[in-house]
């Protein structure tokens, strides 16, 4: 059984929490005592029916205010797949949380209110999904019960979204009309929308093809740690432990180690369950080389004839996450795969107006939740790929050295 990670995004009134509650409830993932607790809390807050949204609103202040503040991870499984939901807030002031949830997702569910169609928030969430390299987007046109389950309304919104999303870089876009409140087309097919011939949301989630989404072409192995037991049994054992970030490594492969450039061959690939012939993402394993060369954490093992960009200069799209705006010529710490460095911000090229997707060349004040294109120079070389080609080697974070906070999420161009 495979694992699918997806995000859910939508504004407070779109019914996103109700949708998740419905997914969990109809697929029988909600336990009895959780339902009882929700029923009890629903009575306290008021409102007629059981408020499924209360299942996902976990923190005290959220339960009181009735909105989602942070990223909440929910889990459920069907016989076909295990799912991880990153439930993210809809407010613009929590864009950073949405970016966080989206960073590891294979698929994004974006809720649209059938009464309103494409709104600012829909545009923003779509843009973020595409920016973060999510390959599959499912637009759920919700609250169809409030527009009489009209096919006309659905088609009009679908066209709106189609026109918009074609400007973005998303490989697989789908549209589902639904009513999360009544359960139409979430898990069970809607009896009210016979005109809709497509799949339900759950069926889509269970069957969307994700195995090809990882990069199986460019071999990238960032070294996390060196394993040297130095015991009698494993006296000469020197293994480089890490998680395959791209490509397929095989025993006997000719490899190069960055940054030194030294070459060797793979002598053995150990997994914790014994030797393996091949290693691919996202497997964790230990690579042993034929030659005794100097390799340590932060280095990267790659194929000789397919190397990443080795450079100290990097252009990227960045999502800013700090209260303090980005400083031109400011210095930050960076983390890229297992490598640490410091950087200086050399140039702020433009800010993106997320609603229109236009570049604001004159607006260089990049504040919290803004998305911009910048260039930085790092103290040491980093071994990168374009983010759209490989999320692992194309992603980078900027850290404020004073507070140690993660202040920027970068996607290398």
């Amino acid at each position: 059984m495979e694992l699918l990670r997806f995000t859910t995004a939508g504004s407070v009134d779109d019914g996103k929490s109700t949708l998740i509650g419905r997914l969990l409830y109809d697929s029988k993932a909600i336990f009895q005592d959780q339902m009882e607790a929700v029923e009890k809390a629903s009575k306290k807050i008021g409102g007629g029916e059981v408020n499924l949204a209360l299942l996902t609103d976990g923190l005290r202040s959220e339960r009181e205010q009735g909105i989602t503040i942070d990223v909440a991870y929910r889990y459920f499984a069907t016989p076909k797949r295990k799912f991880i939901i990153a439930d993210t807030p809809g407010h613009i002031q929590y864009t950073r949380n949405m970016v966080t949830g989206a960073s590891t997702a294979n698929l994004a569910i974006i809720l649209v209110d059938a009464r309103h169609g494409l709104v600012e928030q829909t545009a923003r969430h779509s843009f973020i999904a595409s920016l973060l390299g999510i390959k599959h987007v499912v637009y759920c046109i919700n609250k169809m019960d409030l527009v009489d389950f009209s096919q006309e309304v659905f088609d009009k919104i679908k066209k709106q979204l189609d026109d918009f999303s074609s400007k973005l870089d998303i490989a697989d876009v789908r549209y589902i009309p639904m009513s999360a409140l009544l359960g139409d087309n979430v898990v069970d097919r809607s009896k009210n929308m016979a005109w809709y011939q497509g799949s339900t949301l759950l069926y889509t989630l269970e069957t969307v093809h994700i195995a090809s989404d990882a990069n199986h072409v460019d071999c990238r192995f960032p070294v996390q740690t060196v394993i040297r037991p130095q015991t009698t049994e494993y006296h000469d054992y020197r293994g480089y432990a890490g998680r395959v970030a791209g490509g397929i490594f095989k025993k006997g492969d000719e490899i190069a180690v960055l940054p030194s450039g030294f070459t060797s061959k793979i002598a053995k690939i150990d997994s914790y369950d014994g030797e393996v012939d091949e290693a691919f993402p996202p497997m964790s394993c230990t690579i042993l080389l034929e030659d005794d060369i100097d390799v340590s954490r932060g280095d990267m093992i790659v194929r000789v004839n397919n190397q990443p960009d080795v450079s100290q200069d990097h252009e990227m799209m960045i999502c800013w996450m700090s209260q303090r705006p980005i400083q031109l010529n400011g210095k930050y710490a960076v983390k890229h795969t297992t490598r640490d460095a410091r950087c200086i911000v050399k140039d702020i090229k433009y800010k993106v107006d997320i609603n229109s997707l236009h570049r604001l060349e004159d607006d260089k004040e990049i504040k919290m939740n803004d998305i911009a294109r910048i260039s930085i120079r790092t103290t040491v070389s980093l071994f990168t790929d374009r983010y759209q080609r490989n999320r692992n080697t194309g992603s980078i974070i900027l850290i404020d050295e004073g507070t140690n906070e993660t202040v920027g999420a970068g996607m290398i161009l």
Partner: protein, 300 residues
């Protein structure tokens, strides 16, 4: 060949990646170990992460003194067999030192006192990162946790101020005196843990399996009888066939009546069950936001 992993293999790889990151980023990490299934799985993953080398950090147990004797026995045997270092922080010591006051009454528990002992143990040993087997599906407040959870110098957790955690890049940077809690199996559900235990044939304390036990019933919950259990006069001891789905202190862990005496039967039971894993934990029921409040004070 198919180049994808099963969900268990993917979760396993993710956990091992996290554990290796902890060993690499921190100077003095430790693995919190209670003898419960989640910490046992974490320990198993740690062994895999550094194979064929040794696990490069100690196990730490905050011992309330109210543990099930079976758990302590299991812990001691495991430590002896593997030759791994074990550090025990005793809640009794904190009580004797006057740092915490024992609760009184019939529902008294030492659960809330653990936090002080944990923080003291961390400080005494200068641990800069403590790993634990907490999972996000366990409880509402844990659903918001990061893998790398920053705690201030008081060990406190501020939910409004957690660092964004993106991709697989973990920011473990900190100032002196601060530390991290790290949760490698954050994305595992209860079912994933059981399936993994079955697949890997991992040994567990006998409490998890159905057995006959002397118990008493209070407020609809079946508690094990034991020397520090405060029973009301009307609470009578009876013998029942029970097992424990989650294991905390004896004083706050309820049993379920069950015939499941092996892993396969346990998994079937968990799959069919109607209540959550921690539903029998009275420590979570003290208020709506019991876990959140404890975490804000520095609890695990």
């Amino acid at each position: 060949m198919k180049y994808n992993l099963t969900h268990l293999k993917e979760l396993e790889s993710e956990a091992i990646f996290v554990i290796r990151e902890v060993a690499a980023q921190f100077e003095n990490p430790a693995l919190l170990f209670s003898g419960g299934k989640d910490s046992i799985v974490c320990y198993d993953l740690a062994k895999k992460a550094f194979w064929p080398g040794k696990v490069p950090f100690p196990l730490v147990h905050v011992d309330t003194g109210h543990n099930f004797p079976e758990t302590i026995q299991f812990r001691d045997e495991l430590v002896k067999k593997d030759g791994v270092e074990l550090i025990v922080g005793l809640v009794q010591d904190s009580i004797d030192q006057g740092k915490v006051v024992e609760e009184k009454g019939f529902n008294a528990s030492r659960n809330g006192l653990q936090t002080v002992t944990l923080l003291d143990t961390i400080e005494t040993n200068k641990f800069d990162a403590c790993m634990g087997g907490a999972r996000r599906d366990e409880e509402k407040a844990r659903a918001k946790e990061r893998f790398f959870s920053h705690r201030d110098e008081f060990g406190q957790w501020d939910p409004k101020n957690q660092r964004p955690e993106l991709w697989n890049i973990f920011n473990g940077m900190k100032n002196m005196g601060e530390n991290f809690r790290v949760f490698p199996i954050s994305n595992w559900t209860e079912m994933d843990v059981w399936q993994y235990i079955l697949a890997e044939n991992i040994e567990l304390p006998s409490l998890y399996f159905s057995h006959e036990r002397e118990v008493f019933v209070r407020d609809g919950v079946i508690y094990s009888d034991g020397e520090f259990m405060n029973k009301r006069p009307e609470e009578k001891i009876e013998k029942r066939t029970v097992r424990f789905r989650t294991i905390g202190d004896m004083t706050c862990t309820g049993a379920v009546e069950s015939p499941a005496d092996d892993l396969t039967k346990i998994i079937e039971e968990v799959a069919a069950t109607r209540t959550t894993e921690r539903g029998t934990r009275s420590d979570d029921k003290r208020s709506e936001a019991a876990m959140e409040d404890r975490k804000k004070q520095g609890y695990f």
